[in-house]
Each structure stands twice: as C-alpha cells, then as structure tokens.
C-alpha cells in the first residue's frame, strides 16, 4: 500500500489537520453529485479551502472499445456519452466520419440532424436546470421541466425509436426519415414546453432564494475560463460569445436566424439565464428548420457508405455485395485524421478520428466538453460555502458518461 500511495501526491485523510482545517468527503455517492464523482474537500469552517475532484467511476473504455469495432457499430456507444443529449453525440460522430471520408449527406438529412440536435439541446438544458432547481429545494420546477423533457423524449422516440438511446445517425445518413406528422407533433410539444418553461421562469428567475443561491456563486473570470478550455454555456456566461454553431457552422446552421445569449458575471445565475435563453433559441431553430425542410433522400447515394435498401439487396448482386461488405467490414475511410467539433449541450464536443484505412478506427478520441469544466470546478468552488458546491456543480452540468467515457 505504501508504494501505491506514493503515486498520490496529496496525502488526504479524514483526520483534522493541524491548523483547524478538516478533510471532508463529498461523494462518491451523494445525491447532488449526479452520477458518481468524489470531491475531497479541505474545509475551514464552512468555507472550502482546497479541493480535489476525483473522477473515473463511470469509465467504460469507450475509446478502446471503438478501436475494435466498425464505424457504424460505434454509433450506439456514442448515445451513452452524454445521455441527456444523445442525438448531438450521434450527429457529431457521424459528421466526423463523414469528414474523414470526404462525403456530404443530402440536404434533408442535414436539416433533420439540426432539428434532432436542437431537440437534444433542449432536453439537456431542461434536465440541467430542473435538477439544479431540485437540488436547491425547488422541487416543483423539477417536475415542470422534466415533464417538458418527457414530451421531447416522446418526440425523439417517435422519430428514432428510443428515448435516451436513439442511435439515430449512420455514417452517411440516418436510420429512418421523420414520421409524417412530425411538424404538427413538434408544434404541440413546443406549446407545452413553452408553457412549462415560462412557469419555471416565473418560479425561479426572480425568486429571492434561488437568486441568492446562484448569484455571485461559482464565479469564474473570462481569462480563467479560457485557460481552463471552457466552452458552451459556462464560457458564454462570462461574456465570450463563442458557439461552434456560429463560429464554424456545420450542417446547415448558417441558414438559420438565432442568437447566442451571453452573461456578464460568469456566475451560476448567468449560466442559468444563458441556458434558459438558449432553449428558446433552440426552439426557434427547430421551427425555422421545419419550415425550410426540403424533401428528397435522407441517405448518401453511395452503397459503399450506406446500406442499400432491402429491395435492392434481394434483387441486385451489387447491392447484395455492398450489404455484405458493409455489414462485415464496415465503411472504410481513407488513411488520415480529422477533428470535428459540434456544439454539445455543455460546449464543444469534438471527435478526433485517426483512420488506418480499415473498417474500424485506429484511434477515436472524444473531447468531452464537461471534462474541461469539471477540471475547473476546484477553482470555482474555492473560498465558497460547502452548500454552494451543489449549485456550482449543478450548473457545470457534469455528465458522467461523457466525462469518463
């Protein structure tokens, strides 16, 4: 044991330290530590003097697994990265492989991907704010927001056949087209989401208790946020209007009119407001996309990329061969490497893929947005109250699945 402890530089124990400080465990199993994260705190009275965030309890070897399976088999695994916004991961992954292959999907596919990404962003933010409010004892709000989320889950369920694990994209296309009355369903769902959001807004935004718990808590400056590689709502709350959808538009994001909300303080309250506004913008994007939605195919026409339709497989030798090749060997991007970033719920979600020309990636790296955010947690909670860790941690929106892969 002695030797192993030598690797750990900070020698933590639960005894009281000499100068009156105390070491305290927050987690790994703590109701406010979404999933399992352990924060080892050194506290001076009620204040956090120092902390060490220990992660890795949900590590599943996603990257190692993907090196041993074909490209399309990775798609269901990407669902499990950020499991409250799985469709963004699906889309990001498919885009990365398509960039590697140098292909582009048809316009209808790109629009559908935008719509599904934005629905996922909604579920992500709804969960984040809802859970955050619940942890700060606003339990009603949780149900308002989770009910709204459930409506969106029903919508994505109708489209992709799964609430939390849709595995909706394929390299070069999608598993299926939108259901025929999707636009009407979306309009109905949005009516309910808007109502619940405005209820939650009324209950929280100008609520004295909620405001006091969030305002000027978990502050981070612009410079620190950049140094910690923050992205997403956490970065925008400091006033930097960086959003991958605007900065380097992928898919058809450049065809929509939407705003990037920014904060000014870099505290939890600003992060909350940024998320609230982003949801409204997401609904705007979905409505514009539905209005512009073109017809046509959803899949890339090349049978070396996407599985041919079943009628073709049964009646045509080329399609049959393509079907076998794709099923057994998978798509084969040329040798090379790409990095593709998309705007996830928490920030920049990047996929770095190295191909050696075979059917499975040589290296697949995910740049999870909340990895950088959780890395900055120690600094954000330093000097604050123990009870405020809950609100800061909630607004970081740590998602174990993508943090630890």
């Amino acid at each position: 044991m002695e030797k192993k402890n030598a690797e750990t530089q900070k020698n933590w124990n639960l005894e009281t330290l000499e100068d009156g400080r105390m070491v305290l465990n927050m987690g790994p199993s703590h109701p406010a530590m979404h999933g399992i994260v352990r924060v080892l705190l050194t506290v001076q009275g009620e204040r956090v003097a120092d902390s060490d965030v220990e992660i890795g309890y949900l590590h599943r070897g996603f990257e190692k697994t993907c090196e041993n399976i074909t490209y399309n088999q990775c798609v269901p695994y990407t669902d499990r990265l950020n499991y409250v916004s799985p469709l963004i991961n699906n889309v990001g992954y498919a885009l990365a492989v398509e960039k590697l292959m140098g292909i582009e999907t048809p316009a209808r596919c790109q629009y559908i991907r935008v719509i599904m990404s934005e629905l996922s962003r909604l579920t992500d933010h709804l969960t984040c704010i809802g859970a955050n409010a619940m942890e700060l004892a606003a339990f009603t709000v949780y149900f308002y927001l989770i009910n709204a989320r459930e409506e969106i889950y029903r919508l994505t369920d109708a489209v992709a056949g799964g609430r939390v694990t849709p595995a909706y994209t394929r390299v070069g296309g999608l598993t299926r087209d939108l259901p025929p009355d999707f636009a009407r369903m979306t309009a109905e769902v949005f009516k309910k989401v808007r109502k619940n959001l405005s209820d939650a807004d009324k209950l929280l935004t100008r609520n004295r208790i909620f405001y006091d718990r969030l305002h000027n808590v978990g502050n981070i400056s612009k410079e620190d946020a950049i140094a910690f590689s923050f992205t997403g709502p956490a970065l925008r709350s400091t006033g930097i209007p960086l959003d991958v959808r605007k900065a380097t538009p992928y898919l058809v994001y450049d065809r929509f009119d939407f705003d990037i909300p920014v904060g000014s303080n870099g505290d939890n309250y600003d992060r909350y407001l940024v998320r609230l506004e982003e949801m409204k913008q997401s609904m705007r994007i979905v409505e514009q996309a539905l209005a512009q939605l073109p017809g046509g195919p959803i899949n890339h026409p090349d049978f070396n990329v996407i599985l041919p339709p079943k009628e073709e497989v049964a009646g045509n030798i080329e399609a049959l061969m393509a079907h076998f090749k794709l099923t057994f060997e998978g798509v084969k991007p040329p040798k090379g490497e790409v990095y593709q970033a998309v705007e996830g719920g928490n920030g920049e979600l990047g996929f770095y893929i190295v191909s050696d020309g075979t059917g499975s990636p040589w290296r697949l790296r995910v740049r999870p947005p909340c990895f950088a955010l959780t890395g900055g947690l120690s600094q954000m909670i330093k000097g604050g109250y123990i009870a405020d860790i809950v609100s800061t941690f909630g607004q970081i929106n740590m998602i174990g699945g993508e943090l630890e892969r």
Binding site: E7, S229, G336, F371, Q379, E404
Partner: protein
C-alpha cells in the same frame, strides 16, 4: 497550395518542423517534441491561439516512435484551428507539460498519462485520473489486451 499558417511555422521553426499537412482542411504541424513548449508559447502569444481545445495522444505500435502527442488549438479571435503533433518514443515517453501556458492542460495531460503512460515534465500533479491508483498498465496502448483482467487490490486501511 501554400498555407499561411503552416508556412509561418516552417519559417519560424525551420529545424523543428518535421512535416505539415492539411488533410480535409485540418491544418496540422508535426514537430519535434523538444520544441513543443516554445511552439505552443508562440501560438498562444503571437498567433492568438487562446484555447487549448484538446490534448491527447495516439499509439502507433509497432512504428517507432510509437506515440504521438496530439494538441488541438483554437483561436477565438481569428476563428481558426490548428493541430500540433509531436512524435514521442516509447523508450523515452516524456514530453514537456503545457500547464504553464494553459491551466486546463492539467486534466488533459493527466488523462494522456493515465491512458498511454506518457510523462509530462513540469506537470504539477501527474497521477491517474480515470483509472485507480493500483491499476497496472495503460489501457489505450495498443499492446494492452482488450479483455485483460486486473489483479484484485486489497482493501484500503
């Protein structure tokens, strides 16, 4: 096609740049690992690359040098991305840490160390991050078997 950024790099570090390419529009500079720190500082201070978006590694066994350190930089001022790669030998898997330039490199480097066993010199707190302390080996290395079992670790005191 000439590329401004890659040309600037070649002109600035003529002895250290091993290769450059721009596959699918991703501009990449491959340089000697000894020059990593000064190249990163040049990127940050003079070219305006303020974000270290990602830092990771890759294992190219049986090629030697087997590892490659991969950094993705992003400039929010110019809205530009650049990838920097450094070959790292398996026998001497150590490279300079970027924590002095970006605090956020801390966790990225810990992960690269955890997964590949690359040591980052000058890192303030280099220990495993996703795996536990008693873990044997580095799981993302290509010679780490997919289904390898780990020895049981004794209870903590």
């Amino acid at each position: 096609m000439t590329n401004y950024l890659l040309e600037t790099f070649k002109a600035k570090f003529p002895d250290d740049v091993l290769d450059t390419h721009a596959f699918r529009g991703d501009e990449t500079v491959i340089l000697k690992k000894e020059a990593l720190l000064k190249a990163a500082a040049f990127l940050k201070d003079e070219l305006g690359f303020d974000f270290l978006m990602d830092l990771t590694a890759a294992d190219y066994l049986p090629r030697e040098p087997r590892f490659e350190l991969v950094c993705h930089f992003y400039s929010s001022k110019n809205n530009y991305r650049l990838r920097l790669k450094c070959p790292v030998a398996g026998t001497d898997a150590r490279v300079a840490s970027l924590t002095s330039l970006w605090t956020g490199a801390n966790w990225f480097e810990r992960e690269a160390y955890d997964m590949y066993g690359i040591k980052f010199e000058g890192h303030p707190d280099l220990r495993r991050i996703l795996m536990y302390d008693g873990f044997e080996g580095h799981p993302l290395r290509k010679d780490y078997p997919l289904k390898k079992r780990q020895p049981r670790i004794p209870h903590r005191e």
